[in-house]
Amino acid sequence: MTGTTPSSADEIDALFRGAIRSGQLGDGERLPTVRQSARDVGVAQATAAKAYKTLERDGLIVTRTAAGTRVAPGASRAPQAVIEHARALAEASEGALVSLEDTIAILRAVWRTEATQLPV
């Protein structure tokens, strides 16, 4: 959450929409509770709940009583497993002081190697 602090339901909606569309949150991943999101952003719970309702109406998130609120299937750029692996890669690279550029280059090289090996 960088830049200006969102204060309205529309702004919170846009914030989460961006996080889902960009792949910051993967398909099936559980969102923070309404109360937690309200605390994180510094707004009333009703405002955060309104934003969640809009996201749900637009099919970006699904709410189930037992499972909580999760990113809807197909709403994000990739499923939860891929996003989790991407996070693990980012953490490992940062830990080993490998730059973002080098990490992307490695990923491209690995991707290409895997892609060329597949047809064989």
Partner: protein, 343 residues
């Protein structure tokens, strides 16, 4: 000259006192000198974790030593005097973890709007799977033992035949039937084991709550992913270690007690005094006599193992703190300020 010295040491530190064999196992643990505890390189939680690791672990050791020393020095007059003593190390470990979490909660959170959007994580997100398995087996054994001992307990008539260490009569169900109602042995039942179950339930609740809270603690938007994972993993590891130490020590104390209670024998002996003269021998044992001795011995080993483990956690936390301080001293100030987590 040697025997009086050994006896003097035995009088001072009986084998039943947790620290006696614990110190021996602790000394043996240095066969593998590698540290088992690491600390975050920077961040506000490091100092709190050092306190928890060094002083908290030692506190559990002191509690375990004191309660086991009390158990050795006093006769169990009621038949359930030890109800609080066996669960005390686990209770102390739980308090240490709860107090540390409370201290960690005082660390200021990022201001609203400066927090990163992250998914809601499960309680075990930063805990080691292997440690969780070990931590799962230990409380299961403890719960099974306590439930079994409560299940086999019964009340006894005031004028019934009592064996073993016979305490003052009580109408509470602290007795187990000896040889299908032939007599009664004390040491079982809810008066002896309910506190252990309560301490175990509380410890599990605290463990889940603490890990869940820390997994979902708001992140500073500009914090680095690796530093956050590292500090949360190390925190979860230390908490698991402290609780595991308390659990193992309590499991040991419970098994020592259960094994000791089950070993009572009533015997009519045929003892050969010469080649052709003997006196008759008939032995009547308790319901789990075959398991009682190994259980008792394993109890000694587990109680001492728990204490040795906690001593090792304490020393290794101090070593980790020294290593962190040395690495900070070796790192130039301008680099130190840019490396590591923000929170």
């Amino acid at each position: 000259m040697l025997f009086p010295l050994v006896h003097a040491i035995q009088d001072l530190l009986p084998l039943e006192v947790a620290i006696t064999i614990g110190l021996i196992l602790f000394a043996l643990s240095w066969v593998r000198p590698r540290r088992i505890v690491s600390l975050p390189q920077s961040g506000r939680r490091t100092a709190t974790l050092v306190w928890a690791g060094v002083a908290g672990s030692l506190l559990v050791v002191v509690v375990a030593t004191m309660v086991s020393a009390i158990a050795v020095s006093r006769f169990d007059a009621s038949g359930f005097d030890g109800w609080w003593r066996r669960s005390a190390p686990l209770f102390a470990a739980m308090l240490v973890v709860a107090a540390t979490t409370s201290a960690l909660r005082r660390i200021p959170l990022p201001a609203p709007g400066e927090r990163m959007i992250v998914p809601r994580r499960p309680w075990h997100a930063f805990a080691s799977r292997t440690l969780l398995w070990i931590s799962g087996i230990t409380p299961t054994l403890l719960a099974l033992t306590a439930v079994w001992q409560i299940a086999i307990a019964t009340t006894a008539p005031k004028d019934g035949p009592f064996f073993g260490n016979v305490p003052d009569y009580t109408a509470l169900p602290i007795y187990m039937s000896f040889n299908s109602g032939y007599g009664y042995l004390s040491g079982a039942g809810w008066p002896n084991h309910l506190a252990t179950l309560v301490a175990l339930a509380l410890a599990c609740a605290v463990f889940f709550a603490v890990l869940h809270t820390d997994s979902n603690r708001p992140l500073f938007a500009r914090s680095t992913a690796s530093s956050v994972r590292s500090e949360r993993e190390l925190t979860a590891r230390l908490f698991t270690f402290i609780l595991l130490g308390g659990l193992i020590t309590t499991l040991g104390a419970v098994w020592m007690h259960t094994g000791s209670s089950g070993q009572a024998l009533v015997g009519l002996d045929e003892k050969w005094v010469s080649g052709d003269q003997s006196s008759p021998r008939i032995f009547v044992a308790g319901g789990y006599d075959a398991n009682a001795r190994p259980m008792n011995l394993l109890g000694y080993a587990l109680q001492a193992g728990g204490v040795a483990f906690l001593l090792r956690v304490s020393v290794d936390t101090a070593r980790a703190a020294l290593a962190t301080r040395r690495s900070h001293a070796a790192t130039p100030e301008h680099e130190a300020s840019t490396v590591g987590s923000r929170r």
